[in-house]
């Protein structure tokens, strides 16, 4: 009951913010806020792969692109008509569009999840840097493919995507990936992921099905990257392959590492900081990216464990609820 109430309360807050924000916030700040939310989803989802499972992926933009283009195509070819039809029978436009968006997001996420499954498979053979390079290659191949497929606009980009993403949906996406990550960290499955990260051979010796869990991490992480991509597509209303370059993947990695590998709250914090920072530096004009890169270097040199991380890479800071599970200390929500 308490859970249900809490869920309703959270939804109510999101709806309230959804209605209030566009009225009280100037469009530019609202845009930065939305981009922050999308970055949070990306960073937390990558954290599932890099932080929790220790599988080094640097092709996250590729999964995001799959989700973005996948959901955009669903909306353009199917969703739009459904939304119009639903609105035609008297259902309020907001709900009709929301339903269509949800379908498109899930479809995009599922496509990205399938891509994650395909990329996760080589991770059974490759470790560390080699896996990183394969994911990098995958991301680039996706981008080149998109640039060459006429049906998705090729190098001209894909315009006319219905702009359905509102703060409510970004909020739902953020909540979903954060809650899932925190719950996962506390579950048997999460422990299995941590075990793989800390010592794969030992984990295998203890009976963890490392193959299954590594692929699981990839599928989950890329599913949410796809969701983030879908939200981005329906927010911008326009997609271009150049939004999903290697640099985008790097930005997301910087968020995860800066936040502290494996720390969900760290990823959230760093995603917000690293999205706002370039915007805040806009007045510095051409110095902007120079300052950004200098800060990245200085942060890594002075605080290599990330903002939230308190221990080194092999034993990163874990989110508080993930403290050793003492049965007596339990107590449900």
């Amino acid at each position: 009951m308490a859970r249900l109430l809490r869920a309703v309360a959270v939804l109510a807050v999101l709806v309230g913010l959804d209605l209030a924000l566009p009225r009280f916030l100037n469009p530019y700040y609202l845009r930065v806020l939305m981009l922050c939310g999308i970055s949070v989803i990306l960073a937390v989802s990558l954290n599932l792969i890099n932080g929790f499972t220790g599988q080094f992926s640097i092709g996250h933009a590729g999964f995001m692109a799959v989700g973005a283009y996948g959901s955009a195509m669903v909306s353009l070819h199917v969703g739009q008509h459904w939304a119009a039809a639903l609105a035609g029978v008297g259902i309020p436009a907001v709900i009709a569009q929301g339903a269509a968006l949800l379908v498109a997001l899930l479809a995009g996420g599922a496509l990205a999840g399938i891509a994650g499954y395909l990329v996760g498979l080589p991770s059974l053979r490759l470790r560390g840097d080699y896996l990183a390079i394969v994911t990098l290659g995958f991301g680039e191949i996706i981008r080149v493919l998109i640039t060459n497929i006429e049906a998705v606009g090729a190098a001209r980009g894909l315009p006319g995507i219905p702009p359905w993403t509102t703060f409510f949906w970004v909020g739902i996406g953020m909540l979903a990936v954060i809650v899932l990550s925190l719950r996962l960290a506390n579950s048997t499955h999460g422990r299995a992921l941590f075990a793989i990260r800390d010592d794969e051979v030992a984990a295998e010796a203890l009976g963890v099905d490392t193959t299954r869990y590594k692929v699981l991490a990839f599928v989950l992480g890329s599913f949410f990257a796809g969701i983030a991509g879908g939200l981005f597509a329906h927010y911008n209303a326009y997609l271009h392959p150049n939004s999903f370059t290697f640099i985008k993947s790097i930005e997301v990695i910087a968020m995860v590492v800066l936040g502290g590998l494996g720390s969900v709250s760290g990823s959230v914090l760093a995603a917000i900081v690293l999205t706002i920072l370039p915007e805040a530096l806009r007045s510095a004009q051409e110095w902007r990216m120079v300052i950004y890169s200098l800060m990245l270097i200085i942060l890594m040199v002075t605080r290599p464990q990330g903002l939230m991380g308190s221990r080194e890479f092999r034993w990163p800071w874990r989110h508080r609820p993930a403290a050793p599970p003492a049965p007596a200390a339990g107590g449900g929500a």
Binding site: N50, F56, P122, R125, L126, D129, Y130, A132, I133, V134, L136, G137, F138, E140, I141, V144, L145, T147, N148, V201, F246, I250, I253, A254, V257, L258, L261, E286, W287, R288, M289, V290, Y292, S293, L294, L296, I297, M300, V301, P304, Q305, E312, F313, R314
Partner: protein, 300 residues
């Protein structure tokens, strides 16, 4: 057939450039296990240093081999210095941290060089002066090779031989090999590990600078972001040949260059950037250690 031979010549030329850049990646990886993402940007700096050196020397108004050589050497020296500074200022402080922290630092340095370059050199493309006027030499059967391609081939092969001699037959080279095997053991044998790492960065950066100048000779449009894609591809070339393995980097570079030119010539120019990564994924799935790399068994 003549078209194929022509493509092959172009591919080998491009491959030599990739090989020069890949050598820097592979040396640094061999010694530090670090993917030096900033390496492609050092290559970009090489082209710009060459541009300024050529202007300063007036190499364009009186093109002669001596001034062209001077341009090359100045660019190499400048980039060697940059490599040294990057290693000392950015990489050395994070050497004891996690490898990811080092990687993010490398990415930071890469962004700094690109955007700093944009600030200093300007965002619009510059044109590299013609320090050696182009001429085409017919090889018979409709196949031609330009003197610039010959210079690229000659200079890269010469540099590769010099590097091989240094690595195999000098004390520094011996120390580099020792450090790449084991830092601690090397230090116990009286090798200054820090100095050898710096030397490795200097050598790698000098080779990248040479690649930058050579490419600018043939393709004179240079801009601050020109290093990103060749850098990535050269890195892939290093992995292809077996990262950490010096002959492997050369082989990987050649394979990459030839494959890319063939795809452009016979498939479609729009796929030129994908072939590198397709090759990469195939090789990693079939032979993860790379063509010349040796698979290492995992110690438990």
């Amino acid at each position: 057939m003549s078209e194929f031979l022509q493509q092959l010549i172009n591919g080998v030329t491009l491959g030599c450039v990739y090989a020069l850049i890949a050598l820097g990646y592979t040396m640094v990886y061999g010694i530090l296990r670090l993917i030096n993402f900033a390496h492609g940007d050092v290559y970009m700096l090489g082209a710009f240093f060459g541009l300024y050196a050529a202007r300063w020397l007036g190499a364009q108004t009186h093109p002669n081999p001596a001034s062209a050589l001077a341009v090359l050497l100045i660019a190499m020296a400048g980039c060697g210095l940059v490599g040294l500074i990057i290693e000392r200022a950015a990489y050395k402080p994070v050497r004891q941290s996690s490898r990811l922290a080092a990687l993010i630092t490398a990415i930071g340095v890469s962004l700094l060089l690109e955007n700093g370059g944009r600030l200093v050199f300007g965002a619009d493309p510059k044109f590299f002066p013609q320090i050696i006027p182009a001429t085409n030499i017919a090889l018979g059967g409709g196949v031609t090779i330009s003197n610039q391609q010959l210079i690229i081939l000659g200079v890269s092969i010469a540099l590769m031989i010099v590097l091989r001699v240094i690595v195999l037959y000098t004390r520094v080279g011996k120390a580099m090999r020792a450090v790449s095997h084991n830092h601690t053991a090397a230090a116990m044998m009286g090798i200054s590990v820090d100095r050898i790492i710096s030397v490795t960065f200097v050598f790698g950066s000098m080779l990248a600078a040479a690649a930058g100048v050579l490419v600018a000779l043939e393709n004179p449009k240079i801009e601050p972001y020109m290093g990103i894609l060749p850098g990535l591809k050269a890195f892939v070339a290093a992995v292809l040949g077996g990262i950490g393995n010096i002959p492997g980097a050369v082989l990987g570079g050649l394979v990459m260059g030839i494959a890319e030119v063939m795809v452009v010539g016979y498939v479609s120019p729009t796929y030129r950037d994908a072939i590198a990564f397709v090759l990469l994924i195939v090789i990693l799935l079939v032979r993860p250690a790379g063509i010349l790399g040796t698979a290492t068994a995992e110690k438990v």
